[in-house]
Amino acid sequence: MVEIILYIAGGLILLGMLTALWRFVEGPSSADRIMAFDAMTVTSIALIALIAFFNNRIIYLDVALVYGLLSFTGVIVIARFLEKGL
């Protein structure tokens, strides 16, 4: 029962990532693309947590944390570059 619900959740998350990928490809501006990228990486944190549950490994959550950190820094760097703050 629990696993079925979590499989459905994982499918929905994947579907959401694909939908965000559409915006990443479509654009139209670079800020739109980086926004879609940010949404995708934040979403993938949830996906990594699900994978950690299915494999029963807590250490995957460390990977999720690093992922969140890198996504945050990446967005900040590109946003500051766009506004000529570097």
């Binding site: 959740a9 934040v42 807590i58 969140g68």
Partner: protein, 115 residues
């Protein structure tokens, strides 16, 4: 035992639904700022709920889940704000539906005062 796992999985499912709705918002909304509103913010809540659900299912993971949740809640609004600020400075246009842009007026006023 079983009920706790059921609650956790349902919380995760609600989070996944929010993630999907947020992604839908990213595609449907007309300009960058509205996309940031519906997309990034909804996916933030979705991620928080998903990880909280995993933490409920597995109480031994609660500490790390709490760290991830507080980290996401701390950093995501900051990156959204920085991106919106940069985009507005860059002059990425707002949609035609927009009613008012006080920030543009304020920046124009400041430029006038400098001259």
């Amino acid at each position: 035992m079983e009920i706790r796992m059921l609650i956790g999985s349902i919380v995760t499912l609600i989070g996944a639904i929010f993630i999907f709705l947020g992604a839908l918002g990213i595609v449907r909304m007309p300009d960058l700022y509205n996309r940031l509103q519906s997309g990034t913010k909804a996916s933030t809540l979705g991620t928080i709920l998903s990880i909280a659900g995993i933490g409920i299912i597995n109480p031994a993971w609660a500490g790390k889940a709490f760290i991830i949740i507080s980290f996401v809640m701390m950093t995501n609004p900051v990156s959204s704000h920085t991106l919106a600020r940069g985009a507005h400075h860059l002059g990425i246009p707002l949609s035609k539906k927009t009613v008012i842009d006080k920030l543009k007026e304020a920046e124009a006023n400041e430029k006038k005062e400098e001259q």
